[in-house]
């Protein structure tokens, strides 16, 4: 269980990345969604014990991460994939993963070898394990990042924007892998790609400008947007400015829009069942209107 209460993080004197965040996260897979600059990475880094909060309390699996002892205890249980992961270009994937395994305390040689073999297999890197990382593609590097996070059998897995830069096939594969992991540990998936969350997380939070805008299930978020998503076919004119265009399809004689917002002032609009992405956009739109 992760309990965050009144969490505030200020960089310097002016930039407030988190503003009094309260949140409880249980076991399983949890999605944290928000636009770039919402405060997701700051929250992830605080949970991982990498950043000190300015104000507030954070308990991760019973450990207070604001204390030295608690921070160390959390790191013993943690698998972490940072948003911007770099790798040593001159090491092979195997060398790099062995390095991380030792840092995580996997000191038994037999156990380490077994874990490395399993994780390389899981990440689909067995064939390329001895190649220098400088020769890897972006997707392969991301998979190395995931593999290192899984080392040491973590009880808490924090992955920050894991699918950025991956092709569709790799994204699906990664989402499935994280979903499988969530059977054994708590997985926190932070992303700005709503589709990633919609495919794997039932429990989620939406964050923007350092504040939690929504906390609940995917179904609840979708339900909020019901009656605010429309299909609109026009000959040429664009939808009203107050509507957010989710998709545009140019056909031979008309343009089909999918829009989110309050009922448009045209009879041609047809209300449709919202998706999680529509729910997210409706929420963001509401928060902008409310200021």
């Amino acid at each position: 269980m992760i309990i965050v209460s009144q969490l505030t993080k200020t960089y310097g004197k002016k930039v407030q990345a988190l503003r009094g965040v309260d949140m409880e996260i249980g076991s399983g897979m949890f999605g944290l969604v928000g636009p770039n600059g919402a405060g997701k990475t700051t929250l992830m880094r605080i949970l991982a014990g990498l950043l000190r909060p300015t104000i507030g309390k954070v308990s991760v699996l019973g450990n207070d991460v604001t204390t030295g002892r608690g921070k160390k205890a959390v790191k013993e249980l943690l698998g972490y994939l940072p948003q911007e992961l770099g790798l040593y270009p001159d090491l092979s994937a195997l060398e790099f993963l062995e390095y991380v395994a030792l840092l995580k305390g996997v000191t038994d040689k037999v156990d380490r070898k077994k874990q490395l073999e399993e994780i390389l297999e899981l990440a689909g890197l067995t064939q390329d394990a001895r190649r220098r990382l400088r020769t890897y593609s972006g997707g392969m590097k991301r998979r190395v990042g995931i593999a290192q996070a899984l080392l040491g059998k973590p009880q808490l897995l924090i992955v920050d924007e894991p699918t950025s830069g991956l092709d569709p096939e790799e994204r699906v594969r990664l989402r499935n892998l994280l979903a499988e992991m969530s059977a054994h540990c708590t997985v926190i998936l932070s992303t700005h790609i709503v589709e990633d969350v919609s495919q794997s997380c039932n429990d989620l939070a939406v964050i923007n400008l350092g504040q939690v805008l929504f906390r609940g299930s995917a179904g609840d978020l979708i339900a909020q947007a019901r009656g605010h998503v429309w299909n609109l076919a026009t000959s040429c004119e664009r939808p009203e400015a107050s509507l957010t265009v989710v998709s545009t399809m140019q056909l031979e004689n008309s343009v089909h829009y999918r829009v989110v917002g309050n009922p448009p002032g045209t009879s041609k609009a047809v209300s449709v069942e919202p998706s999680l992405e529509d729910g997210y956009i409706w929420l963001m739109q509401k928060s902008r209107i409310q200021g």
Binding site: L50, L85, Y88
Partner: protein
């Protein structure tokens, strides 16, 4: 036990990088070669003269007859000739010692300062900090890894030095380098060269610990090295010697050096072999050398403590 494994892991990775990176390797090689050359310059310049003298004696029946009467064989001539050049080689140390300090402190810290910033510029630092390794173990691993690289590479100029010396002696006198000279240089490398090397690489790593890019760390490393020269000379200078610059460890080793070959020659000729540092040179005890090592250790641990605090404050590590 886990901490030791973590230190080992950081050290091993740093060692792998150290060997693949140019900076510390080239610096160590260059500095070692320059210092070795500075020591060998004078003895090698006098080698042919000593060889000619030896040949002259060996062709002089009167001298041979006189010494044979005293029970000495021809080998003693070779050994004493070799001994005089050996003595000259050891005596070159006080004249060349400042080169050692200058090259290692000017170049090495600038080369090793990139060690910590490299993790930041590669984007690996955040990941490393998320593992249970402590900042202290991380720093220790870095120093150990760079130390292993520099120590291993340092063996190359040391080996070359002994190789050139041995080859020259065999060529000129048909005898190898006297064992006491080999012993002296081993002791010198271990008891004075290694602390200088250790200080140079550690001060560089610590100076670079606050920077994010490898390039930004080079200049502070250079400055730390220059300041180290002044610190070393101020803190560890032995009693005044004209025209010489040494530290306590080097002074102590030279003070206690005795050439057995030249002692033999002294017995033969009746003229005592002068002490290496000259007659009347002040004598220092081993406690002065131990204090020097303690100051080095305490200073480095204090600076490492500051770097550790910096990592904790700035990166919550």
């Amino acid at each position: 036990m886990k901490t030791l494994w973590q230190i080992f892991a950081v050290a091993r990775t740093e060692f792998r990088f150290g060997l693949r990176r140019g900076g510390p390797v080239i610096t160590t090689l260059l500095s070692g070669l320059v210092f070795g050359a500075a020591i060998l310059l004078n003895p090698l310049a006098n080698l042919s003269m000593a060889k000619d003298d030896l040949n002259h004696i060996l062709q002089n029946p009167t001298v041979i007859e006189k010494w044979t009467e005293k029970g000495y064989t021809v080998d003693i001539y070779r050994q004493t000739a070799a001994g005089s050049i050996a003595e000259m080689t050891v005596f070159s140390v006080p004249w060349a010692w400042f080169t050692l300090l200058l090259t290692y402190f000017l170049l090495l810290p600038a080369a090793t300062a990139a060690s910590l910033p490299a993790d930041r510029s590669f984007g690996v630092a955040e990941l490393l900090h998320s593992t249970p390794i402590s900042g202290g173990s991380y720093l220790a691993g870095k120093v150990l890894g760079v130390g292993l690289t520099v120590g291993l590479i340092g063996l190359i100029p040391l080996g070359l030095f002994f190789g050139v010396l041995e080859g020259s002696f065999l060529y000129a006198f048909q005898v190898g380098v006297p064992a006491d000279v080999v012993g002296f240089f081993f002791k010198f490398a271990l008891l004075d060269g290694l602390p200088i090397l250790g200080w140079g690489l550690t001060i560089g790593i610590l100076a670079g610990s606050i920077f994010r890019s490898r390039r930004a760390a080079v200049f502070p490393g250079l400055v730390a090295g220059i300041l180290s020269i002044f610190f070393w000379l101020a803190a560890f200078s032995p009693p005044d010697l004209p025209f010489m610059q040494l530290d306590m460890a080097a002074y102590y080793l030279l003070q206690n050096y005795h050439s057995t070959v030249l002692d033999t020659l002294a017995k033969l000729t009746g003229f005592p072999s002068p002490p290496m540092l000259g007659k009347g040179a002040p004598v220092i005890g081993i406690e002065r050398v131990i204090i020097m090592y303690l100051i080095i250790a305490i200073s480095l641990f204090s600076l490492a403590g500051l770097a550790r605090l910096w990592l904790k404050w700035k990166e919550n590590f």
